[in-house]
Protein backbone atom coordinates (compact mmCIF):
# COMPACT_ATOMS: atom_id res chain seq x y z
CA UNK A 1 0.00 0.00 0.00
CA UNK A 2 3.07 2.21 0.05
CA UNK A 3 2.98 4.88 -2.61
CA UNK A 4 6.03 4.52 -4.87
CA UNK A 5 8.79 6.81 -3.74
CA UNK A 6 7.21 7.29 -0.30
CA UNK A 7 10.45 6.42 1.49
CA UNK A 8 12.88 7.91 -1.00
CA UNK A 9 14.06 10.73 1.25
CA UNK A 10 14.21 8.59 4.34
CA UNK A 11 16.27 6.00 2.48
CA UNK A 12 18.74 8.70 1.56
CA UNK A 13 19.33 9.23 5.24
CA UNK A 14 19.36 5.61 6.30
CA UNK A 15 21.36 3.95 3.53
CA UNK A 16 24.19 6.42 3.02
CA UNK A 17 27.03 7.52 5.25
CA UNK A 18 27.30 11.22 5.92
CA UNK A 19 29.30 13.92 7.60
CA UNK A 20 26.74 14.71 10.25
CA UNK A 21 25.91 11.24 11.54
CA UNK A 22 27.33 9.93 14.80
CA UNK A 23 30.43 7.70 14.74
CA UNK A 24 28.42 4.56 15.56
CA UNK A 25 26.00 4.93 12.66
CA UNK A 26 26.08 2.13 10.10
CA UNK A 27 24.01 2.76 6.97
CA UNK A 28 21.71 -0.15 6.28
CA UNK A 29 18.53 -0.58 4.22
CA UNK A 30 17.18 -2.74 7.05
CA UNK A 31 17.03 0.30 9.32
CA UNK A 32 13.81 1.43 7.72
CA UNK A 33 12.08 -1.81 8.62
CA UNK A 34 13.52 -1.56 12.13
CA UNK A 35 12.16 1.95 12.58
CA UNK A 36 8.79 0.96 11.25
CA UNK A 37 8.23 -2.44 12.81
CA UNK A 38 10.40 -2.81 15.89
CA UNK A 39 11.51 0.51 17.23
CA UNK A 40 9.12 1.84 19.83
CA UNK A 41 9.19 5.53 20.57
CA UNK A 42 7.37 7.38 23.32
CA UNK A 43 6.25 10.96 22.85
CA UNK A 44 5.65 12.64 26.20
CA UNK A 45 3.14 15.45 25.76
CA UNK A 46 0.58 16.02 23.01
CA UNK A 47 0.43 19.81 23.12
CA UNK A 48 2.04 22.43 20.94
CA UNK A 49 5.32 20.60 20.60
CA UNK A 50 3.77 17.12 20.89
CA UNK A 51 1.52 17.60 17.83
CA UNK A 52 4.54 18.55 15.73
CA UNK A 53 6.60 15.67 17.11
CA UNK A 54 3.91 13.07 16.45
CA UNK A 55 3.48 14.25 12.88
CA UNK A 56 7.25 14.29 12.32
CA UNK A 57 7.78 10.85 13.87
CA UNK A 58 4.98 9.30 11.82
CA UNK A 59 6.23 10.84 8.57
CA UNK A 60 9.86 9.89 9.33
CA UNK A 61 9.13 6.19 9.25
CA UNK A 62 8.47 5.38 12.91
CA UNK A 63 5.59 2.92 12.99
CA UNK A 64 5.12 2.13 16.68
CA UNK A 65 4.48 5.34 18.58
CA UNK A 66 3.00 5.84 22.03
CA UNK A 67 1.88 9.20 23.34
CA UNK A 68 1.16 10.17 26.92
CA UNK A 69 -0.60 13.34 28.06
CA UNK A 70 -2.84 14.14 31.03
CA UNK A 71 -4.54 17.16 29.48
CA UNK A 72 -7.80 17.71 27.67
CA UNK A 73 -8.19 19.99 24.68
CA UNK A 74 -8.98 23.64 25.27
CA UNK A 75 -10.36 25.94 22.61
CA UNK A 76 -7.27 28.15 22.95
CA UNK A 77 -5.07 25.22 21.80
CA UNK A 78 -6.59 25.05 18.34
CA UNK A 79 -4.50 27.81 16.74
CA UNK A 80 -1.34 25.72 16.89
CA UNK A 81 -2.17 22.18 18.01
CA UNK A 82 -3.20 21.20 14.51
CA UNK A 83 -4.26 17.62 15.21
CA UNK A 84 -7.31 18.95 17.08
CA UNK A 85 -10.59 20.36 15.77
CA UNK A 86 -13.35 22.39 17.37
CA UNK A 87 -15.45 19.25 17.93
CA UNK A 88 -12.56 17.77 19.98
CA UNK A 89 -12.62 20.45 22.69
CA UNK A 90 -12.85 18.77 26.10
CA UNK A 91 -11.53 15.40 24.90
CA UNK A 92 -8.16 13.94 25.98
CA UNK A 93 -5.27 15.29 23.89
CA UNK A 94 -3.43 11.95 23.74
CA UNK A 95 -6.47 10.09 22.38
CA UNK A 96 -7.46 12.66 19.77
CA UNK A 97 -3.86 13.14 18.60
CA UNK A 98 -3.33 9.37 18.27
CA UNK A 99 -6.56 8.94 16.31
CA UNK A 100 -5.66 11.83 13.99
CA UNK A 101 -2.26 10.35 13.13
CA UNK A 102 -3.60 6.80 12.79
CA UNK A 103 -6.22 8.03 10.36
CA UNK A 104 -3.93 10.12 8.20
CA UNK A 105 -0.61 8.28 8.05
CA UNK A 106 -0.90 4.81 6.57
CA UNK A 107 0.90 2.03 8.41
CA UNK A 108 1.52 3.99 11.59
CA UNK A 109 0.08 2.89 14.87
CA UNK A 110 -0.11 5.43 17.68
CA UNK A 111 -1.19 4.23 21.13
CA UNK A 112 -2.55 6.92 23.48
CA UNK A 113 -2.13 7.06 27.26
CA UNK A 114 -4.43 9.58 28.93
CA UNK A 115 -2.80 9.87 32.35
CA UNK A 116 -0.06 11.53 34.37
CA UNK A 117 3.53 10.47 33.67
CA UNK A 118 3.93 9.55 37.35
CA UNK A 119 1.11 7.01 37.10
CA UNK A 120 3.02 4.70 34.76
CA UNK A 121 5.36 2.12 36.29
CA UNK A 122 9.03 2.00 35.29
CA UNK A 123 8.35 -1.08 33.16
CA UNK A 124 6.17 1.06 30.92
CA UNK A 125 9.05 3.40 30.11
CA UNK A 126 11.48 0.50 29.80
CA UNK A 127 9.79 -0.82 26.63
CA UNK A 128 10.73 2.17 24.46
CA UNK A 129 13.96 2.62 22.54
CA UNK A 130 13.67 6.40 22.49
CA UNK A 131 11.78 8.89 24.63
CA UNK A 132 11.02 12.28 23.17
CA UNK A 133 9.71 15.13 25.30
CA UNK A 134 7.26 17.86 24.41
CA UNK A 135 6.71 19.16 27.93
CA UNK A 136 6.05 22.56 29.41
CA UNK A 137 7.37 22.35 32.94
CA UNK A 138 10.66 21.95 34.73
CA UNK A 139 9.14 19.42 37.15
CA UNK A 140 7.92 17.07 34.42
CA UNK A 141 11.27 17.25 32.61
CA UNK A 142 13.14 16.47 35.80
CA UNK A 143 10.87 13.54 36.45
CA UNK A 144 11.33 12.09 32.96
CA UNK A 145 15.07 12.67 33.23
CA UNK A 146 15.12 10.64 36.42
CA UNK A 147 13.14 7.88 34.76
CA UNK A 148 15.55 7.72 31.80
CA UNK A 149 18.60 7.84 34.10
CA UNK A 150 17.18 5.18 36.41
CA UNK A 151 17.72 2.49 33.74
CA UNK A 152 21.41 3.32 33.52
CA UNK A 153 23.71 0.65 34.94
CA UNK A 154 27.48 0.83 35.22
CA UNK A 155 30.31 -1.55 34.50
CA UNK A 156 32.75 -2.39 37.27
CA UNK A 157 35.06 0.43 36.18
CA UNK A 158 32.28 2.99 36.42
CA UNK A 159 31.73 3.39 32.68
CA UNK A 160 28.11 3.30 31.55
CA UNK A 161 26.72 -0.06 30.38
CA UNK A 162 25.77 0.80 26.77
CA UNK A 163 22.84 -1.55 26.63
CA UNK A 164 21.10 0.25 29.50
CA UNK A 165 21.19 3.72 27.98
CA UNK A 166 17.76 5.13 27.31
CA UNK A 167 18.18 8.01 24.84
CA UNK A 168 15.95 10.98 25.48
CA UNK A 169 15.35 14.07 23.38
CA UNK A 170 14.15 17.16 25.17
CA UNK A 171 12.58 20.11 23.45
CA UNK A 172 10.86 23.24 24.62
CA UNK A 173 9.42 26.49 23.38
CA UNK A 174 8.47 29.71 25.06
CA UNK A 175 7.47 32.79 23.15
CA UNK A 176 10.04 33.18 20.40
CA UNK A 177 12.63 31.01 22.09
CA UNK A 178 13.20 27.31 21.92
CA UNK A 179 15.69 24.59 22.64
CA UNK A 180 16.36 20.98 21.75
CA UNK A 181 18.92 18.58 23.10
CA UNK A 182 19.72 14.91 23.17
CA UNK A 183 20.31 13.32 26.53
CA UNK A 184 22.23 10.04 26.55
CA UNK A 185 22.39 9.18 30.27
CA UNK A 186 25.94 8.44 31.28
CA UNK A 187 27.41 10.15 28.20
CA UNK A 188 25.96 13.60 27.85
CA UNK A 189 24.94 15.93 30.66
CA UNK A 190 21.55 14.91 32.00
CA UNK A 191 18.83 17.44 32.76
CA UNK A 192 19.89 17.61 36.39
CA UNK A 193 23.59 18.22 35.54
CA UNK A 194 22.69 21.51 33.92
CA UNK A 195 19.72 22.64 35.92
CA UNK A 196 21.47 25.95 36.48
CA UNK A 197 20.67 26.77 32.84
CA UNK A 198 17.21 27.73 34.06
CA UNK A 199 17.29 31.06 35.83
CA UNK A 200 15.09 31.42 38.91
CA UNK A 201 11.96 33.47 38.40
CA UNK A 202 11.93 37.07 39.50
CA UNK A 203 10.30 37.35 42.89
CA UNK A 204 9.24 40.39 44.83
CA UNK A 205 9.28 40.77 48.62
CA UNK A 206 5.83 40.03 50.04
CA UNK A 207 5.81 43.22 52.09
CA UNK A 208 6.41 45.32 48.97
CA UNK A 209 3.50 43.60 47.26
CA UNK A 210 1.26 44.09 50.29
CA UNK A 211 2.08 47.62 51.34
CA UNK A 212 4.24 49.55 48.92
CA UNK A 213 3.60 48.40 45.34
CA UNK A 214 5.55 50.51 42.87
CA UNK A 215 5.22 48.75 39.53
CA UNK A 216 2.42 47.17 37.48
CA UNK A 217 4.07 43.77 38.05
CA UNK A 218 3.72 44.28 41.84
CA UNK A 219 -0.05 44.79 41.42
CA UNK A 220 -0.44 41.66 39.29
CA UNK A 221 1.62 39.56 41.69
CA UNK A 222 -0.47 40.81 44.62
CA UNK A 223 -3.75 39.87 42.92
CA UNK A 224 -2.39 36.47 41.95
CA UNK A 225 -0.45 35.55 45.06
CA UNK A 226 -2.38 37.11 47.93
CA UNK A 227 -5.86 38.19 46.84
CA UNK A 228 -6.63 34.96 45.01
CA UNK A 229 -6.04 32.89 48.15
CA UNK A 230 -8.07 35.27 50.30
CA UNK A 231 -11.04 35.79 48.04
CA UNK A 232 -11.25 32.47 46.22
CA UNK A 233 -10.05 29.98 48.85
CA UNK A 234 -10.06 26.36 47.72
CA UNK A 235 -9.81 27.27 44.02
CA UNK A 236 -6.53 26.48 42.34
CA UNK A 237 -5.35 29.26 40.07
CA UNK A 238 -4.95 28.07 36.49
CA UNK A 239 -3.26 30.41 34.02
CA UNK A 240 -4.93 28.55 31.15
CA UNK A 241 -8.43 29.48 32.34
CA UNK A 242 -9.33 32.81 30.85
CA UNK A 243 -11.75 33.70 33.63
CA UNK A 244 -8.95 33.28 36.19
CA UNK A 245 -6.61 35.49 34.20
CA UNK A 246 -9.35 38.10 33.76
CA UNK A 247 -10.03 38.08 37.49
CA UNK A 248 -6.35 38.66 38.29
CA UNK A 249 -6.18 41.36 35.64
CA UNK A 250 -9.29 43.17 36.97
CA UNK A 251 -8.07 43.03 40.57
CA UNK A 252 -4.58 44.19 39.56
CA UNK A 253 -6.14 47.08 37.69
CA UNK A 254 -8.12 48.16 40.76
CA UNK A 255 -5.03 47.96 42.91
CA UNK A 256 -2.98 49.92 40.39
CA UNK A 257 -5.66 52.64 40.38
CA UNK A 258 -5.59 52.77 44.18
CA UNK A 259 -1.84 53.34 44.24
CA UNK A 260 -1.70 55.49 41.12
CA UNK A 261 0.35 53.03 39.10
CA UNK A 262 0.03 52.99 35.32
CA UNK A 263 0.80 50.16 32.95
CA UNK A 264 -1.23 47.14 34.06
CA UNK A 265 -2.39 45.42 30.90
CA UNK A 266 -3.87 42.03 30.12
CA UNK A 267 -0.77 41.20 28.12
CA UNK A 268 1.49 41.95 31.09
CA UNK A 269 -0.77 39.81 33.29
CA UNK A 270 -0.08 36.96 30.90
CA UNK A 271 3.60 37.61 31.50
CA UNK A 272 4.56 38.78 28.04
CA UNK A 273 6.82 41.58 27.02
CA UNK A 274 5.72 43.40 23.92
CA UNK A 275 8.87 43.70 21.89
CA UNK A 276 11.49 41.42 20.49
CA UNK A 277 14.50 42.81 18.73
CA UNK A 278 16.01 40.73 15.99
CA UNK A 279 19.12 42.04 14.29
CA UNK A 280 19.88 39.82 11.33
CA UNK A 281 22.82 41.63 9.79
CA UNK A 282 25.46 40.77 12.37
CA UNK A 283 23.99 37.42 13.33
CA UNK A 284 21.68 37.02 16.26
CA UNK A 285 22.62 37.80 19.81
CA UNK A 286 23.46 34.65 21.65
CA UNK A 287 25.68 33.39 24.42
CA UNK A 288 27.58 30.21 25.14
CA UNK A 289 27.75 28.12 28.27
CA UNK A 290 29.87 25.28 29.50
CA UNK A 291 27.67 22.26 28.81
CA UNK A 292 29.17 19.27 30.53
CA UNK A 293 28.34 16.35 32.78
CA UNK A 294 28.34 17.02 36.49
CA UNK A 295 30.65 14.35 37.87
CA UNK A 296 28.75 14.42 41.14
CA UNK A 297 25.24 14.56 39.62
CA UNK A 298 22.75 12.95 41.98
CA UNK A 299 20.78 11.49 39.11
CA UNK A 300 23.19 10.26 36.41
CA UNK A 301 26.70 10.00 37.84
CA UNK A 302 28.16 6.54 38.31
CA UNK A 303 29.11 7.21 41.91
CA UNK A 304 32.37 6.36 43.63
CA UNK A 305 32.96 2.60 43.72
CA UNK A 306 33.11 1.14 47.19
CA UNK A 307 33.82 -2.50 47.99
CA UNK A 308 33.21 -3.98 51.39
CA UNK A 309 33.36 -7.53 52.77
CA UNK A 310 30.12 -9.45 52.31
CA UNK A 311 29.47 -9.74 56.03
CA UNK A 312 29.90 -6.01 56.83
CA UNK A 313 27.61 -4.24 59.21
CA UNK A 314 26.51 -0.68 58.52
CA UNK A 315 28.98 0.54 61.16
CA UNK A 316 31.81 -1.27 59.39
CA UNK A 317 30.88 0.28 56.05
CA UNK A 318 30.82 3.73 57.66
CA UNK A 319 34.19 3.08 59.32
CA UNK A 320 35.59 2.01 55.97
CA UNK A 321 34.29 5.21 54.34
CA UNK A 322 35.98 7.31 57.00
CA UNK A 323 39.30 5.48 56.57
CA UNK A 324 39.15 5.75 52.78
CA UNK A 325 41.94 8.09 51.57
CA UNK A 326 39.72 9.29 48.68
CA UNK A 327 37.47 11.12 51.13
CA UNK A 328 40.15 12.24 53.53
CA UNK A 329 39.05 15.22 55.59
CA UNK A 330 35.59 15.26 54.00
CA UNK A 331 33.77 12.79 56.21
CA UNK A 332 33.54 13.92 59.79
CA UNK A 333 30.24 12.36 60.80
CA UNK A 334 28.69 10.73 57.73
CA UNK A 335 24.99 9.96 57.36
CA UNK A 336 24.07 7.17 54.96
CA UNK A 337 20.85 6.61 53.00
CA UNK A 338 19.88 4.11 50.36
CA UNK A 339 17.15 5.58 48.17
CA UNK A 340 14.38 6.88 50.42
CA UNK A 341 15.55 4.66 53.28
CA UNK A 342 17.62 6.45 55.90
CA UNK A 343 20.14 3.89 57.13
CA UNK A 344 22.01 6.03 59.63
CA UNK A 345 21.38 9.73 60.03
CA UNK A 346 22.86 12.36 62.27
CA UNK A 347 20.57 15.22 63.25
CA UNK A 348 16.93 14.62 64.08
CA UNK A 349 16.80 10.96 63.02
CA UNK A 350 19.91 9.86 64.94
CA UNK A 351 18.12 8.15 67.77
CA UNK A 352 15.86 6.00 65.63
CA UNK A 353 18.47 5.02 63.04
CA UNK A 354 21.21 4.23 65.58
CA UNK A 355 20.01 0.65 65.95
CA UNK A 356 20.81 0.02 62.26
CA UNK A 357 24.54 0.47 62.86
CA UNK A 358 25.01 -3.07 64.12
CA UNK A 359 22.80 -4.60 61.45
CA UNK A 360 24.01 -6.60 58.50
CA UNK A 361 24.50 -4.33 55.49
CA UNK A 362 23.29 -6.96 53.02
CA UNK A 363 20.00 -7.18 54.86
CA UNK A 364 19.60 -3.41 55.07
CA UNK A 365 20.04 -2.84 51.32
CA UNK A 366 18.37 -6.10 50.28
CA UNK A 367 21.23 -7.41 48.14
CA UNK A 368 24.92 -7.01 47.33
CA UNK A 369 24.73 -3.87 45.20
CA UNK A 370 23.30 -0.46 45.95
CA UNK A 371 23.82 3.20 45.37
CA UNK A 372 24.29 4.93 48.70
CA UNK A 373 23.96 8.63 49.38
CA UNK A 374 26.48 9.80 51.93
CA UNK A 375 25.91 13.16 53.57
CA UNK A 376 28.28 15.07 55.73
CA UNK A 377 28.53 18.65 56.93
CA UNK A 378 31.88 18.88 55.19
CA UNK A 379 30.46 17.78 51.85
CA UNK A 380 28.81 20.44 49.70
CA UNK A 381 26.47 17.93 48.08
CA UNK A 382 25.54 14.32 48.81
CA UNK A 383 28.22 11.83 47.76
CA UNK A 384 27.06 8.91 45.63
CA UNK A 385 28.72 5.60 46.43
CA UNK A 386 28.32 2.44 44.34
CA UNK A 387 28.55 -0.22 47.01
CA UNK A 388 29.45 -3.82 46.25
CA UNK A 389 29.45 -6.36 49.05
CA UNK A 390 31.65 -9.32 48.23
CA UNK A 391 34.61 -11.33 49.46
CA UNK A 392 36.37 -11.63 46.10
CA UNK A 393 40.06 -11.02 46.61
CA UNK A 394 40.53 -9.47 43.15
CA UNK A 395 38.18 -6.70 44.19
CA UNK A 396 40.19 -6.16 47.33
CA UNK A 397 43.30 -5.96 45.19
CA UNK A 398 41.62 -3.36 43.00
CA UNK A 399 40.75 -1.38 46.10
CA UNK A 400 44.33 -1.43 47.27
CA UNK A 401 45.59 0.10 44.05
Amino acid sequence: MDVPGRWKDLDHLLTRPGNVVGPGFEPDPALRAFLHDDCRVLCVGAGGLGCELLKDLALSGFGQIDVIDMDTIDVSNLNRQFLFRLKDVGKPKAEVAAAAINQRVAGVHVTPHFCRIEEKPLEFYQQFQIIILGLDSLEARRYMNQVACSFLAFEEDGSPDLSTIKPMIDGGTEGFKGHARVILPGFTPCFECTLWLFPPQTKFPLCTLAETPRSPAHCIEYAHLIQWGQERPGHDFDADVEEHMRWVYDEALKRAAKFGIAGVSYQLTQGMDNYMMYVGTDGIYTHTVKYEKDAACLICSSGVPLHAPASSTLQQVIDQLQRDPRFEGKLQSPSVSCGPQNLYMHGIFEEETRQNLQKDMKMLIGGSHAILQVNDKKLLAPLRCRLTLSDHSDLDAEMAE
Binding site: R142, S150, L206, N342
Partner: protein, 180 residues
Amino acid sequence: MIKLFSVKEKQKKDAAAINNPKQSAGELRMQKDMSELNLAKGTTISFPDGKDKLLHFEIFLKPEDGIYKAGTFHFDFQVPTSYPHEPPKIKCKTKVFHPNIDLDGNICLNILREDWKPVLSINSIIYGLQFLFLDPNPEDPLNKEAAEMLANNKAKFESQVQAAIQRGAYIGSNHFPPCR
Protein backbone atom coordinates in the same frame (compact mmCIF):
# COMPACT_ATOMS: atom_id res chain seq x y z
CA MET B 1 29.55 6.25 20.28
CA ILE B 2 26.28 4.45 20.69
CA LYS B 3 24.77 2.12 18.20
CA LEU B 4 21.27 3.27 18.86
CA PHE B 5 19.69 0.82 16.46
CA SER B 6 21.45 -2.22 17.78
CA VAL B 7 19.71 -1.67 21.07
CA LYS B 8 17.08 -4.11 19.87
CA GLU B 9 19.04 -7.28 20.65
CA LYS B 10 20.20 -5.98 23.96
CA GLN B 11 16.77 -5.19 25.29
CA LYS B 12 16.47 -8.62 26.86
CA LYS B 13 19.28 -7.86 29.24
CA ASP B 14 17.99 -7.48 32.73
CA ALA B 15 18.05 -3.82 33.58
CA ALA B 16 16.84 -3.52 37.10
CA ALA B 17 16.61 0.13 38.00
CA ILE B 18 19.16 0.79 40.68
CA ASN B 19 18.20 4.41 41.06
CA ASN B 20 14.77 5.03 42.37
CA PRO B 21 13.09 7.65 40.18
CA LYS B 22 10.28 8.00 42.67
CA GLN B 23 12.80 9.80 44.80
CA SER B 24 13.24 13.31 43.49
CA ALA B 25 16.41 15.36 43.68
CA GLY B 26 14.54 17.49 46.23
CA GLU B 27 14.10 14.50 48.51
CA LEU B 28 17.77 13.54 48.16
CA ARG B 29 18.78 17.02 49.21
CA MET B 30 16.31 16.93 52.10
CA GLN B 31 18.13 13.88 53.46
CA LYS B 32 21.22 16.04 53.66
CA ASP B 33 19.33 18.91 55.30
CA MET B 34 17.73 16.61 57.85
CA SER B 35 21.05 15.01 58.77
CA GLU B 36 22.39 18.48 59.54
CA LEU B 37 19.37 19.90 61.28
CA ASN B 38 20.09 21.40 64.69
CA LEU B 39 16.97 22.53 66.45
CA ALA B 40 17.22 25.15 69.15
CA LYS B 41 15.92 24.23 72.58
CA GLY B 42 12.13 24.21 72.55
CA THR B 43 11.86 23.93 68.77
CA THR B 44 10.40 20.65 67.51
CA ILE B 45 9.72 19.05 64.15
CA SER B 46 7.11 16.54 63.06
CA PHE B 47 6.30 14.70 59.84
CA PRO B 48 2.53 14.43 59.41
CA ASP B 49 2.88 12.12 56.37
CA GLY B 50 5.54 9.90 57.92
CA LYS B 51 9.29 10.16 58.30
CA ASP B 52 9.98 8.79 54.83
CA LYS B 53 8.01 11.71 53.33
CA LEU B 54 10.52 14.44 53.99
CA LEU B 55 8.90 17.00 51.70
CA HIS B 56 6.17 17.89 54.16
CA PHE B 57 6.84 18.74 57.77
CA GLU B 58 5.88 21.06 60.59
CA ILE B 59 8.04 23.14 62.85
CA PHE B 60 6.93 24.31 66.28
CA LEU B 61 8.98 27.32 67.27
CA LYS B 62 9.19 28.53 70.87
CA PRO B 63 11.11 31.81 71.21
CA GLU B 64 13.16 31.82 74.41
CA ASP B 65 13.41 35.55 74.56
CA GLY B 66 11.93 38.80 73.26
CA ILE B 67 8.41 40.04 72.67
CA TYR B 68 7.10 36.61 71.64
CA LYS B 69 8.67 34.70 74.55
CA ALA B 70 6.70 31.64 75.73
CA GLY B 71 4.52 31.46 72.62
CA THR B 72 4.53 28.36 70.43
CA PHE B 73 4.28 29.06 66.72
CA HIS B 74 3.35 26.38 64.25
CA PHE B 75 4.76 26.48 60.70
CA ASP B 76 3.82 24.23 57.81
CA PHE B 77 6.63 23.49 55.32
CA GLN B 78 5.87 22.23 51.81
CA VAL B 79 9.13 21.44 50.04
CA PRO B 80 8.86 21.28 46.23
CA THR B 81 10.52 18.41 44.35
CA SER B 82 12.60 21.13 42.71
CA TYR B 83 14.16 22.03 46.09
CA PRO B 84 16.73 23.58 46.51
CA HIS B 85 16.26 25.22 43.10
CA GLU B 86 13.04 26.62 44.57
CA PRO B 87 12.51 27.48 48.25
CA PRO B 88 9.98 25.66 50.45
CA LYS B 89 6.51 27.16 50.78
CA ILE B 90 5.89 28.05 54.39
CA LYS B 91 2.74 29.12 56.19
CA CYS B 92 2.35 30.19 59.78
CA LYS B 93 -0.55 28.16 61.13
CA THR B 94 -0.71 30.06 64.42
CA LYS B 95 -2.66 33.30 64.24
CA VAL B 96 -0.19 35.89 65.41
CA PHE B 97 -0.02 39.69 65.69
CA HIS B 98 3.28 40.30 63.95
CA PRO B 99 4.36 43.05 61.52
CA ASN B 100 5.89 40.53 59.08
CA ILE B 101 3.21 37.82 59.20
CA ASP B 102 -0.29 38.47 57.90
CA LEU B 103 -3.51 36.99 59.24
CA ASP B 104 -3.53 34.31 56.52
CA GLY B 105 -0.14 33.06 57.69
CA ASN B 106 1.91 34.54 54.83
CA ILE B 107 5.41 35.40 55.98
CA CYS B 108 7.60 38.22 54.72
CA LEU B 109 11.11 36.90 55.05
CA ASN B 110 13.57 37.73 52.27
CA ILE B 111 15.22 34.30 52.06
CA LEU B 112 11.83 32.68 51.46
CA ARG B 113 11.33 34.59 48.22
CA GLU B 114 13.53 37.13 46.52
CA ASP B 115 16.78 36.26 48.28
CA TRP B 116 16.48 32.47 48.23
CA LYS B 117 19.66 30.68 47.12
CA PRO B 118 20.14 26.94 46.71
CA VAL B 119 23.02 27.00 49.23
CA LEU B 120 20.54 27.93 51.96
CA SER B 121 18.97 25.08 53.90
CA ILE B 122 16.10 24.21 56.22
CA ASN B 123 18.46 25.18 59.04
CA SER B 124 18.88 28.69 57.60
CA ILE B 125 15.13 29.10 57.21
CA ILE B 126 14.51 28.13 60.83
CA TYR B 127 17.19 30.60 61.95
CA GLY B 128 15.42 33.20 59.81
CA LEU B 129 12.08 32.48 61.46
CA GLN B 130 13.64 32.64 64.92
CA PHE B 131 15.15 35.98 64.04
CA LEU B 132 11.78 37.25 62.85
CA PHE B 133 10.33 36.59 66.33
CA LEU B 134 13.30 38.08 68.19
CA ASP B 135 13.45 41.15 66.03
CA PRO B 136 10.15 41.92 64.26
CA ASN B 137 10.70 44.50 61.58
CA PRO B 138 8.14 47.34 61.35
CA GLU B 139 9.88 48.91 58.34
CA ASP B 140 8.52 46.50 55.72
CA PRO B 141 5.18 45.42 57.10
CA LEU B 142 2.85 42.69 55.95
CA ASN B 143 0.49 43.47 58.82
CA LYS B 144 0.37 47.26 58.85
CA GLU B 145 -1.59 47.55 62.09
CA ALA B 146 1.04 45.52 63.94
CA ALA B 147 3.87 47.48 62.38
CA GLU B 148 2.37 50.83 63.35
CA MET B 149 1.78 49.79 66.94
CA LEU B 150 5.31 48.41 67.27
CA ALA B 151 6.83 51.57 65.82
CA ASN B 152 4.68 54.01 67.86
CA ASN B 153 4.22 52.25 71.17
CA LYS B 154 6.48 49.32 71.75
CA ALA B 155 5.35 48.79 75.36
CA LYS B 156 1.71 48.54 74.31
CA PHE B 157 2.64 46.19 71.46
CA GLU B 158 4.56 43.93 73.81
CA SER B 159 1.79 43.72 76.40
CA GLN B 160 -0.88 43.05 73.76
CA VAL B 161 1.23 40.30 72.18
CA GLN B 162 1.92 38.70 75.55
CA ALA B 163 -1.75 38.91 76.52
CA ALA B 164 -2.64 37.13 73.29
CA ILE B 165 -0.01 34.44 73.85
CA GLN B 166 -0.99 33.82 77.48
CA ARG B 167 -4.77 34.10 77.47
CA GLY B 168 -5.89 34.99 74.01
CA ALA B 169 -6.94 38.56 73.25
CA TYR B 170 -8.57 40.92 70.86
CA ILE B 171 -6.13 43.28 69.18
CA GLY B 172 -8.07 45.77 67.10
CA SER B 173 -10.94 43.79 65.60
CA ASN B 174 -9.10 40.49 65.42
CA HIS B 175 -9.06 37.79 68.03
CA PHE B 176 -5.79 35.96 68.65
CA PRO B 177 -6.19 32.64 70.47
CA PRO B 178 -3.67 31.71 73.17
CA CYS B 179 -0.62 29.81 71.92
CA ARG B 180 1.41 28.89 74.96
